[in-house]
């Protein structure tokens, strides 16, 4: 496998228009030649019905039910693939942040990562689903291994608008309940939320025997706080504005932020959750490597 680092570079990606193009560039840059998954599985055993959501494959619509009830239900089957991945993409307002040093906003970066991973997963005949959320679930795309599924995923990602605050705890609990089939949960978020609550959600995932990878997407400015002159920090997610001399506060801020990161890392470690820090000015290689490493663990 040889990587083409050019397309893993966020600066380069920023110049590319369209998430699909970006995803393809990333994956093709990272993976040369796709080989079939040796763990490909297929099941036609009916499991349950679920309500149609836009983007679902119409082949699985239960027309009988439609004929009886005028409602569109899909037939669900168990073990559609060997590996089911769920992308949990944070679309809260804080993800909109992009500093001068970063070529992409956190959301854009996370979208790139999610799209690339989806593309990669689908390329490998695995199924992938997508959930966008802020303080509630905004979109949920069921996992599918159909290559055409990618377009639907990308469409949902691209149309998602960052707004409102993150509430990971309840959402993770909710999703842990809803994602029946255990699989790989890939969380892409800045995790600016109450850490214990978030950890409780992760614990729930783990309880449901999901493998969880937390991609902690952060802007370099959030990690380094490079501001010098007096600055009015306009709070996103309805937080108050702060006018301060950043040089005087830098040390204290970094300490607070470090504590937050530490708490997240510690929580993840305690839950056996993979934690991957993604800086939006760094290559996406880290994200892809982390996914592949987790996938390897999963199939062992």
């Amino acid at each position: 496998m040889e990587s083409n680092p050019k397309f893993l570079n966020p600066q380069t990606l920023a110049k590319l228009q369209g998430l699909e193009l970006r995803a393809r560039s990333i994956v093709e840059g990272y993976v040369s030649g796709v080989h079939r998954s040796p763990y490909h599985g297929f099941s036609i055993e009916f499991a349950e019905h679920r309500e149609y959501t836009p983007g679902d494959d119409l082949r699985y619509v239960d027309w009988k039910v439609f004929g009886k009830t005028d409602k569109i239900y899909l037939k669900q089957y168990e073990e559609e693939t060997n590996l089911v991945s769920y992308m949990l993409l944070d679309t809260s307002e804080s993800m909109r942040y992009q500093s001068a040093e970063a070529p992409l906003s956190k959301l854009e970066y996370a979208q790139c990562v999610a799209a690339s991973l989806s593309y990669l997963i689908l390329q490998q005949q695995d199924s992938v689903g997508l959930i966008t959320f802020d303080d509630e679930i905004r979109a949920l795309v069921r996992a599918s291994s159909n290559p055409s599924h990618l377009k639907q995923l990308l469409h949902v990602m691209e149309t998602s608008q960052p707004r409102r605050k993150t509430h990971t705890g309840p959402i993770f609990h909710d999703l842990a309940e809803r994602l029946k089939r255990r699989g790989l949960v890939l969380i892409l978020s800045d995790l600016f939320d109450d850490v214990p609550s978030m950890m409780a959600g992760l614990k729930h995932f783990r309880h449901r025997r999901h493998e969880v990878v937390v991609f902690h997407v952060l802007d370099p400015a959030e990690l380094e706080f490079p501001f010098r002159q007096t600055t009015l920090f306009r709070g996103l997610e309805a937080l108050p504005d702060v006018l301060t001399d950043p040089r005087a506060l830098r040390r204290a801020y970094l300490a607070e932020f470090g504590k937050f990161q530490q708490a997240v890392r510690k929580g993840c470690r305690a839950q056996h959750v993979d934690y991957v820090l993604l800086r939006t000015d760094q290559s996406l290689e880290i994200a892809l490597s982390s996914y592949l490493a987790s996938r390897m663990n999963r199939v062992k």
Partner: protein, 733 residues
């Protein structure tokens, strides 16, 4: 902010620079401006920012204030340093533990007697000097110098006993002379050198002065000026030279600058007119100022003068003395702030008449044929008129009687056609001059020029002649050349040609020769250029030599004509009178001196037993020891630092009183013009004292390295600022 009371404890060399203290507000303004000028950014991690802010807001505020304080202090200390501060509080050691030698130099020029308030400048100087001593640290040593002319070292060895030293300051009296700065610096340098090994680490020289221009801008020759400069540079390296200006104001002053009798001598027989000059040394005209004439302490007359600024007005008084003896005339001005020069005294020796001895070298063979006959007549033309009191009483003796008389009892001795003198006679004549009397030589056919030159011309050690006698000149008829009437002897003839001075015929005379270095003056010359009358002040008296005869007794053996017909000419009486006046004029000056000059007299040998007591103007009496040499005795008294009348009592066998008038030299210290501090050599640190009226608390400057310490402080604060800014996170990695 910088405490105000600290500022008040300092004086400043450049106080205008303190205006820049406003710049200390700059860090605060920049801080406020920065707070208003901010950029806006959206921010996601506000939660952590708020948490950091909550926990650190107090610390941040404290750090901010600390940094602001440091930055403000940097500006303030910098301004403070540039303003050249010095500590006003006396006696505080900048360098603790270092013993300091403090040389206190008090200006002793009489302008220090100026009294703008209830205290004179001199009294203020003493007060400040006392305060310096009192507030000095233990272990400091002091010396005291009075900057008079000449300077006086009151305490030369460093004194560590403040109590005794303070007594010396208290006992300081202001002399009535000038101030000699270069000579004072010599004394100061000697003091510093002698104290080199006394363990005193630092030296400070304080000059308490009114910065009078006459003292502080000394009129020096080139070599003296170079010495002065070099000495000053050396002193500045060894010690801090601090000048304390006791009075920033120039001051107005009126002074009596001169008093003299118009007549050459005073007798009870006639009124004497005195002329005085009143000068205004100030910048404002003085009108209707009171001037009084006092005689022997009694106010006799008063007048009023108007004197324009910088100008002089004359004033005259006449007075007739009733009794012979020394009388003191005083011209006194109405009060002003400098009293010392408001008085001027004149000691006037008053006689019933002048006693003149005429020594006849060629006795009369009948009529007016004697050598002294015309002279004696000319000296007392009213001899036969009993209604007119005689002013001059001539006494004629033959030359053989010369040694029999006490010549010092005569005011003047006319020696007429005396053939020759013995050595004893020469010494007696010299003694006459030493007593301030006059000698007048008329020559004639009896005169042996060689003997004159030998005995009287200095060849035998006695010189009473103002010129050497050379050959006889008798080739033609000669007339007098008044030499533009420059000499006082003949000035009276100017414009009075009818007096016949210029037409007086002279047929024969001795050619007189003046030595190259002679101080003799030619009063009258012959038209051929030879001197006719020569005079010279010798010792305390005056000798006058006339080249020709004073009578008609000398007749040329060939032409059978007299040497001159001058005795019969109308000019003869005035010329003899003028000669007498010139010869005795010195007696009036004899008892009139200036401050610092020595009083004294030469007396006959038998007076050596006489007790001499001098009473100073202040009333102090002092016994003076008589000195005795081969021919004469004498006394002298040099402590004439105070102006006024010094009364001298001469005990038996003389049993008489004399009065000496000692006056100030008004050409210097009466002019109160000050020297500007920037005109002083840079070695001096000048400090202007506040107005004496304002406060009794003195402000003394000390040349210090305070501004340097402040600059070091600024440097330290700069480092502190950098460190604190870094420490408080105001620097980025």
């Amino acid at each position: 902010m910088f405490p105000l009371f600290l500022l008040l404890a300092f004086g400043f060399g450049n106080i205008l620079m303190l205006g820049w203290l406003a710049a200390a507000a700059a860090p605060i303004l920049i801080h406020l401006w920065n707070k208003r000028r901010y950029r806006e950014v959206p921010w996601a991690a506000v939660e952590y920012l708020l948490a950091a802010l909550r926990k650190n807001s107090r610390r941040m505020r404290l750090e901010q204030w600390l940094l602001l304080l440091v930055r403000t202090l940097i500006v303030m200390l910098l301004v403070f340093a540039v303003a050249q501060p010095f500590l006003e509080q006396l006696g505080l050691n900048f360098v603790p533990g270092q013993r300091t030698l403090k040389v206190l130099v008090v200006d002793g020029s009489y302008s220090m007697g100026y009294k703008p308030t209830d205290k004179s400048r001199f009294e203020r100087a003493k007060q400040l000097a006392t305060q310096i001593v009192e507030e000095s640290s233990q272990g400091d040593a002091f010396t005291l110098v009075l900057m008079a002319s000449p300077p006086s070292v009151i305490v030369g060895s460093p004194s560590v006993e403040p109590r005794e030293f303070l007594e010396e300051i208290e006992n300081l009296k202001l002399p009535h002379g000038g101030g000699d700065l270069p000579a004072t610096l010599v004394q100061v340098e000697q003091i510093l050198h002698s104290a080199e090994h006394s363990g005193l680490v630092r030296s400070e020289v304080y000059f308490f002065t009114d910065l009078g221009r006459n003292s502080w801008v000394p009129d020096l020759k080139d070599t003296e000026a170079a010495d002065y400069r070099r000495r000053l540079e050396r002193l500045a390296q060894e010690a801090s030279l601090v000048v304390i200006d006791l009075d920033p104001n120039r001051g107005e002053n009126l002074a009596v600058t001169g008093i003299a009798a118009n007549e050459p001598f005073a007798t009870t027989a006639r009124e004497v007119t005195f002329s005085a000059q009143v000068r205004n040394f100030g910048t404002q005209p003085r009108n209707h100022h009171l001037v009084e004439l006092h005689v022997d302490g009694q106010r006799i007359k008063e007048a009023y003068v108007d004197v324009a600024a910088g100008e002089q007005s004359p004033i005259s008084f006449s007075h007739r003395f009733d009794t012979p003896g020394d009388h003191v005339v005083e011209v006194r001005l109405g009060p002003d702030l400098l009293d010392i020069d408001n008085h001027r005294w004149l000691s006037v020796p008053v006689k019933d008449h002048l006693r003149v001895l005429c020594v006849n070298g060629k006795p009369a063979s009948g009529g007016l044929s004697g050598a002294t006959d015309y002279v004696a007549l000319a000296l007392n033309p009213d001899a036969g008129d009993t209604s007119v009191p005689s002013i001059v009483q001539p006494e004629v003796i033959p030359e053989s009687s010369l040694l029999e008389r006490d010549l010092t009892r005569y005011d003047c001795i006319f020696l007429c056609n005396v053939a020759q003198f013995t050595s004893n006679e020469a010494r007696v004549l010299e003694n006459v001059l030493k007593h301030g009397r006059g000698l007048v030589f008329f020559l004639g056919d009896q005169v042996l020029a060689d003997r004159y030159n030998r005995e009287l011309g200095g060849e035998q050690g006695v010189r009473v002649l103002p010129a050497q006698l050379k050959e006889l000149v008798s080739e033609a008829q000669y007339h007098f050349d008044p030499l533009n009437y420059r000499h006082p002897l003949v000035s009276v003839f100017q414009g009075r040609e009818q007096a016949g001075l210029l037409t007086t015929p002279v047929y024969k005379y001795f050619r007189l020769a003046l030595a190259d270095d002679s101080k003799a003056r030619v009063a009258l010359a012959f038209d051929g250029g030879d001197p006719a009358i020569v005079d010279e002040a010798i010792h305390k008296g005056r000798s006058i030599l006339i080249a020709t005869e004073g009578s008609l007794s000398s007749v040329d053996p060939i032409s059978k004509s007299p040497w001159t017909t001058m005795p019969a000419w109308p000019s003869f009486v005035p010329i003899v009178q003028e000669i007498l006046a010139l010869a005795v004029r010195g007696q009036m000056a004899e008892h009139n001196l200036e401050v610092g000059q020595t009083l004294g007299d030469s007396l006959e040998a038998l007076a050596s037993r006489a007790a001499v007591t001098v009473t100073s103007p202040g009333g102090a009496r002092e016994e003076v020891r008589m000195t005795l040499d081969a021919q004469a005795s004498g006394w002298s008294f040099s402590d004439t630092r105070e102006s006024g009348v010094y009364r001298v009592e001469l005990g038996a066998p003389l049993s008489r009183q004399e009065a000496f008038a000692v006056n100030v030299d008004t050409t210097s210290e009466s002019d109160l013009t000050k020297v500007a501090p920037d005109e002083l050599p840079k070695e001096f640190t000048t400090h202007k004292r506040a107005d004496l009226d304002e406060s009794d608390s003195p402000s003394i400057s000390r040349r210090s390295g305070l501004h340097k310490n402040l600059l070091y402080g600024v440097l330290g604060l700069l480092f502190a600022e950098v460190f604190l800014a870094w420490r408080f996170g105001h620097t980025t990695r």
